[in-house]
Symmetry: C2
Subunit: 477 residues, 2 copies
């Protein structure tokens, strides 16, 4: 594997150099990695990317080539940007700190630390970029996949995005996160191989164009793939040509003891076309033939097609899934903020309340009532929550408070890395996917709906709020 230590924003290295040179190298700190808004204007997110992020961090080493490159960088005055002592430090660098994290597949909300990184200032800072890069993207895509899976009424979703992804590796991360979020297969063969996902795909319009007629093309494809033949029926005309030809081939397959697996429609009015295709197939005795659709699908289009009576068995979703497209999408705005330094809580002020940080080393508690997630609390690390009602206070507006009297409480952050060593056994992707299914089943529909979802409550405990308020008073200029 190619060294990834240079996959880092330069400012992590300039800060690290300055910390060391100014005698701050052994200061300790805690950083929270969190996001401020649910993506897609939705009511939740699905945590993903933890394993890739943490493995990148614990394996992070600066090779001789890396430090040689850094040694070549120059300041405007021509002097070396980095001093030799710093480059020697980097040569021996490895992350020796602590990471706690929320497991992949968990339903998460704004302001909750998905990762909590503790260590010396330098290692915490060097960790920042690579952690954000993995967590931001995979959480975005897992969330998009979950929304699509929900819109499809938990039906079959295939991720078709390799050609529209952000380069090859963007496609790989997208295949992984899509599977966590709800896709059950991918067109990306490498993604399927690496992650143990089922690869899917049949043929394109070009296959039909390469034969004298659509029927001849369908027959040719069916001869090669007798038992998983899905025919693309929209090269010429879906209902006048594609479906009738598919029925002809379906009946021929039956005679030789096989079954046509499906048809795919890739253009036009998918609700209308699928209804009529279904009727034609059923009338021909091919009720078992499945209807696959594709063409710029997303959760809203899928929801509309279903409400218009579309008869779809499988949804192929590409671009909008792997790029996390849509209002409030495109990127998860995850940030990485210092919340503690040498044992003292730290705050960053802002004129915008939601950009203020929540100081202190935290735990994340989730409260359940009658099996449903009710609210989450950010508590001080050492705080003992009472068994009775817990008061939580909105960190963005302390006028908003809620008393939670739960029947069940769990903590979300788990130990992942201690002293630079993995102490966590990463679950299989199948387990992560299963976790996501179970988590969504405990989140009430009002938080899951596409339009104007309820805002799930994530508050500070009174202790944490008092600490924040005190710092606010002290730090205000």
């Amino acid at each position: 594997m190619v060294s990834n230590a240079l996959l880092i924003d330069l400012y992590e290295l300039t800060m690290a150099a300055a910390f060391l040179e100014q005698g701050r190298g052994s200061d300790t700190a805690t950083f929270d990695l969190y996001f401020r808004h649910n993506p897609f204007r939705g009511g939740y997110a699905i945590a993903a990317g933890l394993e890739d992020a943490v493995r990148a961090l614990v394996d992070l080493r600066f090779t001789p080539d890396d430090t040689a490159y850094l040694a070549s960088l120059r300041s405007p005055n021509g002097a070396a940007l980095f001093r030799p002592e710093f480059l020697r430090y980097l040569s021996g660098f490895r992350f020796r700190g602590t990471v706690r994290g929320i497991p992949e597949g968990t339903v998460v909300f704004p302001r909750e630390p998905l990762l909590q990184v503790r260590g010396n200032l330098v290692e915490c800072q060097i960790a920042e970029t690579i952690l954000l890069c993995h967590i931001n993207f995979q959480t975005l895509i897992a969330t998009k996949a979950a929304r699509i899976w929900e819109a499809a009424n938990h039906g079959a979703v295939i991720e078709f995005g390799l050609r529209r992804a952000q380069g090859p590796d963007g496609a790989m991360s997208a295949s992984r996160a899509s599977f966590i979020g709800g896709a059950s297969a991918t067109s990306n063969v490498r993604g399927a191989e690496r992650y143990g996902i089922s690869p899917k795909g049949t043929h394109a319009h070009s296959f039909v164009q390469a034969f004298e007629s659509e029927l001849e093309a369908f027959r040719a494809f069916a001869r090669s793939f007798t038992d998983d033949c899905v025919l693309l029926v929209d090269t010429y005309d879906v209902l006048r040509s594609g479906v009738p030809n598919a029925i002809t081939v379906g009946k021929e397959l039956e005679k030789s003891g096989h079954r046509l697996a499906g048809i795919r429609i890739d253009s036009g009015d998918l609700a209308f076309l699928s209804q009529h295709a279904r009727s034609l197939l059923d009338a021909a005795g091919l009720g078992y033939v499945r209807i696959v659709v594709s063409n710029d699908l997303d959760e809203y289009v899928i929801s509309n097609i279903i409400s218009e009576g579309g008869r779809i068995d499988v949804w192929g979703v590409g671009t909008n899934l792997v790029t996390g497209a849509g209002e409030g999408g495109g990127a998860l705005g995850g940030v990485y903020k210092m919340v503690e330094h040498n044992g003292r809580p730290k705050i960053k002020l802002s004129g915008n309340p939601e950009k203020m940080t929540n100081p202190g080393v935290k735990r994340v508690h989730r409260f359940f009532s009658n099996g449903w997630m009710e609210a989450d609390a950010l508590a001080d690390d050492s705080e003992v929550l009472s068994g009775d009602g817990v008061l939580i206070i909105d960190p963005n507006n302390p006028l908003r408070r809620k008393k939670v009297a739960p029947s069940l409480r769990v903590e979300l952050l788990e130990d992942i890395v201690r002293g630079g060593r993995l102490t966590y056994e990463f679950p299989s992707l199948a387990c992560i996917r299963q976790r996501r299914t179970e988590e969504l089943a405990r989140l009430h529909e009002s938080y899951r709906r596409l339009h104007n979802p309820h805002e799930y409550k994530v508050g500070l405990t009174h202790t944490l709020w008092q600490q924040k308020e005190q710092m606010l008073n002290e730090e205000t200029v």
Copy 2:
């Protein structure tokens, strides 16, 4: 380098298998790779990704591990999905066809083949996914960068996107394409190293938080980086704390013979804050200190800040640049369509005129008048264009026609690969970037503006149009 042969949509392989099994393995074909709409509702795009796409194609090999994985895939009936003969074919596969392409950094428009791939049906099909993956993403990002660079009045733009990119490799491709399009530096150290871009970055809020006071933090950073010290001034309050402290440090640097390089503002009203910061700096005799801004910038925000009188020297753009965000963005909808088969032109019909393909092997001609790009024509490969006026016909609506009487005509497609071998010397990124600058200088402002740009004319020659019309008549069901 990891084998990339499996970075392919499964359907390319099922089609390839069926072509071979049905005796079509030596059929020849031509495929065009093009997009249908300019990204971002803009008036142009910047071609990018050619080198990565073509190198991936000519280096594409199926390793024993790759074919072993493919051999493990099963049909629903339990039989192997692929037959041993096909897997043996893949083991010996390499691309032996021909590729023509439009050089990176060229201004391009919808419906123009950015790549033209010729070869046997199987190799053309196997090429599809990886070509689209590279060209779609890099063209999107180079175009976004060009729009941002234009909005910034060709000022300094730094790409800051690693943490919000689509995984590590998405970030690398984004750094490359951003540089082509107009960014002059990147925060991504690996991207800087691999592509020879200048790496940039200073410090984050956490650096300030790690010291007792902002002033102490600024002094510490300035001691380590005397000549390229850019101070982040918005941790507490830009005008009441950050800028005054930066001025103090700037004056101290002057006393030791150095100069404060800049300040960075990362939140708030950037037009207002930059104007006041400029006044404070100038009044202190620090007129040379540059003002860097960041915080969810894109071409529209930059354009607004400038029109409101913002005093900005350097624009740091992250998320919106590397994800190609914005209306009409997120992905370039590049497609790869068969236009010729065994010497005969091929068409794909659609109820939607813009989704019909333009049949035949083509050349792309660009006409200039008085130094400006005037229009482009898609012509038949063998067609000799007259020196006088050339009639071009809108492929989406043949009622729209234009006579072009150019002073200069050039052809855009160049030979890149012949018989599977590279015949093209890829230019350096600096040359590609220079080409993009020159190209944009010859595209009239009416096509470059952000809002409602003119539509640049790309038409079929009369010969190509007649061919399309004839096929339309023949193929209509």
